[in-house]
């Protein structure tokens, strides 16, 4: 050990922000203070609210804040993951609007960066950054939910085009979005995860029918998409024909991993929950204290874990099936926190229309939190992935 110590290079662990990172944080903070709309926008799952949120994406882009980690030529700032986390912290702290284009910027964006051609990146990333293309997801089908390899919607190559027929469902944001990305069966004789391709489809093409599905809150946050002889140019194929499964798995990794749900979101909820408890302490059971602590402890742990992961990735590491651990953790945490808030609010928790009451926001978040363990691959599927790929258990 004495010998080892002398030979080793020391690149110190340092869990503090550098001066440059602090300066960057100030820059984000002051831009958001000047630009975040003073009044909250309408729900992004209404037609008018959707356009308001699109406008906000354009405003973000005017400050070059669409996606700070992208290269400058595609509308980003070329920053690293730590800076992205700082941006997110300030974003949630400022209570800025929900990103209507999160399917685009957080999921398709990183996928394009990894698998797209220069032309595809140039076209799609820039249009994403400007808010001109708002994206929806097209994975699930009526017969292919958790079992995604059962996809049957076909895309048949005819010259320079694909002819698409079939149906997608639970397609997030599709009610008002401009484009969808997803998996289609391009080899009709193929089975399971072979013969699938990752294709980008505009939703305004002839033959596309979008049927919005009202969610628990009554608004159409997802939709069914019907494809009836829809013709899409072959340039819209991402990666190689038949390589769709591999690419989709990478996208799903981004979704479950650190991109879609940055820790700031949950830390902000935990902080609000603490304040809610303090305001209502006199009519709460002291048993609630344990839930308050759990909320803080878990959201803080999630943040530490993400900084740990981001540091490893910056040092050249990659994230694999570990992202399934995080997806379970944050989705259960989010639900627990909202459930706790409702318990604190007691009988007034059901007041869903009162603008002067906290309840309206909490009950909406509470309902949304039921989705967390379902979307991006149910938590049961994530547990199978953990058991099979991380613990080495048989299929």
């Amino acid at each position: 050990m004495h010998l080892l110590k002398k030979e080793m290079q020391i690149l110190k662990m340092k869990i503090n922000f550098t001066k440059d990172q602090d300066i960057f944080r100030q820059e984000v903070r002051s831009w958001l203070a000047d630009n975040v709309p003073k009044e909250s926008l309408l729900s992004l799952d209404t037609k008018e609210g959707f356009e308001q949120h699109r406008q906000w994406e354009k405003t973000l882009n005017s400050g070059n804040w669409s996606m700070v980690t992208w290269p400058k030529e595609y509308g980003g700032r070329g920053l690293d993951l730590i800076q992205w986390l700082i941006f997110e912290e300030e974003y949630y702290r400022a209570e800025a609007p929900t990103r209507v284009n999160q399917n685009g910027v957080f999921l398709l964006g990183p996928t394009l960066m990894e698998f797209g051609t220069h032309e595809q990146k140039s076209k799609f990333l820039n249009a994403m950054a400007t808010g001109d293309h708002i994206w929806s997801q097209g994975w699930s089908e009526p017969g292919a939910g958790s079992d995604m390899a059962a996809i049957r919607t076909t895309a048949v190559l005819e010259g320079d085009n694909y002819r698409i027929n079939g149906q997608k469902t639970w397609s997030s944001r599709a009610a008002y979005a401009d484009w969808t990305f997803g998996l289609f069966r391009t080899d009709l004789d193929s089975e399971r995860h072979r013969g699938l391709s990752f294709i980008l489809v505009p939703l305004d093409l002839p033959g596309v029918t979008v049927r919005p599905i009202p969610q628990l809150d009554g608004e159409p946050g997802f939709a069914e998409i019907y494809f009836d002889d829809v013709i899409v140019p072959v340039e819209n194929l991402l990666g190689g024909d038949g390589e769709g499964w591999k690419i989709a798995m990478a996208t799903a990794g981004f979704e479950r991993g650190l991109m879609l749900r940055s820790p700031a979101r949950f830390q902000q909820t935990a902080a609000k929950l603490l304040n809610l408890y303090i305001e209502n302490e006199e009519h709460c059971s002291p048993m609630m204290q344990s839930k308050i602590v759990e909320a803080w402890a878990q959201s803080e742990s999630y943040a530490l874990s993400i900084y740990h992961t981001a540091s490893k990735m910056l040092a050249g590491g990659s994230i694999g099936s570990e992202s399934s651990l995080g997806k379970i953790f944050w989705s259960e945490l989010d639900h627990m926190m909202h459930q706790t808030a409702l318990k604190i609010l007691g009988a007034s928790a059901e007041l869903s229309n009162s603008s002067e009451h906290d309840a309206a926001q909490w009950i909406k978040g509470f309902m949304f939190s039921y989705g967390g363990p379902i979307y991006a691959g149910t938590n049961e599927i994530q547990k199978n992935i953990i058991a099979e790929r991380l613990l080495g258990l048989p299929k």
Partner: protein, 345 residues
């Protein structure tokens, strides 16, 4: 911001891991149980020869100046191996406090270190029954307002049986002579409490991982309905749940260790956080591991309980989950403006 280990930190961990894989096997632990001698002198000497016992003393005190992060990583491995000898206690609870002790006491401790690989035991209201006092040269005894340094020959004590046979505990009957002090008590007491939380947290992470590994191996091996029980989702999900808890407890341990190194004013909160998360992970690991083993897990023959017993003891020592919860709650409600998105680091 670089929440990565240094090469040095991970190399220390690897060295101790491979030593313990050879020296601290389940059968060697069982040998200690049957001989009622869980302190294995030859293992202790091997660990000592590596420099581990004094690794975190400063170089001028004859150590390697190892930091708390590297130490926490090593202690995690000691948990994983179920190491009976009090190496974690010696390093975290005694050595790491050296800079805080008054000069006279420091000299006493130093002279014990210099005389070889001797052990100094510690007792505190949060962990009142000192470990392996029979093998110690001296005892550091904390009470509510003072601390004492007592040479073993000046102590009368009697053995206490632990539910974990590899923890040989003692009760102190009387003290003939001691150096007693209350100098710097608050600081020392708070420092030893934080280190006790962090040390048990690191051990519990290792123990939880060991239980998960034993369970994963068992469910691959055991067949029912014509296939390994590990292919059933009910079993997979129980084990995956443990993996999730461990994954999110780990960084809290590393952050707490870094906070001690960095003299972060919130290091006590961070150590409580680490113990809170690790105790929960270990508790689930015990529950789900024995369930995955079925009736075999309930036998003396299966190795699982070697680690489960240690985990039960360590969850309770140095403040259990509920005690840590109270500490966190008090901190949250008295300084709520300083907590949240911007105050993680």
């Amino acid at each position: 911001m670089n929440f990565n280990f240094t090469e040095e930190q991970t190399q220390f961990k690897d060295v101790i891991k491979s030593l313990l894989a050879d020296e601290c096997t389940p059968s060697s632990i069982r040998d200690g149980w049957s001989a009622k001698k869980s302190f294995n002198q030859s293992r202790w000497n091997k660990i000592s020869e590596l420099g581990v016992l004094s690794s975190n003393l400063s170089e001028e005190d004859g150590g390697l100046g190892m930091d708390q992060v590297a130490l926490a990583l090593m202690v995690e491995e000691m948990g994983y191996a179920g190491l009976p000898e009090p190496v974690a206690e010696q390093t975290f609870l005694v050595n790491d406090l050296m800079p805080l002790f008054p000069e006279g006491l420091k000299d006493e401790i130093k002279s014990i270190h210099e005389s070889g690989n001797q052990y100094i035991a510690l007792a505190h209201p949060l962990s009142p029954n000192p470990l392996f006092l029979g093998h110690a040269a001296a005892l550091l005894l904390f009470d509510e307002s003072t601390y004492q340094f007592i040479l073993k020959d000046d102590l009368n004590f009697k053995p206490l049986a632990s539910n974990d046979p590899s923890r040989e505990l003692s009760a102190i009957d009387s003290i003939k002579k001691s150096i007693s002090s209350s100098e710097n008590f608050e600081t020392l007491n708070s420092a030893v409490t934080a280190r006790g939380s962090l040390m048990t947290a690191a051990l519990l992470i290792g123990l939880a991982q060991k239980m998960l590994d034993l369970s994963s191996a068992y469910v691959l091996d055991r067949n029912q309905f014509g296939k390994p029980i590990g292919s059933f989702q009910a079993i997979k999900h129980m084990l995956a749940d443990i993996a999730v808890e461990i994954e999110f407890a780990k960084p809290t341990v590393y952050r707490a260790a870094h906070s001690l190194l960095d003299k972060n004013p919130k290091s006590n909160l961070h150590c409580s956080h680490a113990k809170y998360m690790s105790a929960r992970a270990a508790e689930l690991a015990c529950k789900n591991s024995i369930q995955a083993h079925g009736a075999m897990g309930y036998t003396w023959e299966m190795d699982l309980h070697i680690y489960m017993r240690k985990a039960w003891s360590l969850m309770a020592c140095w403040g259990n989950e509920d005690k840590q919860q109270d500490i966190i709650y008090k901190t949250l409600t008295t300084s709520k403006d300083e907590l949240g998105v911007l105050y993680t680091f």
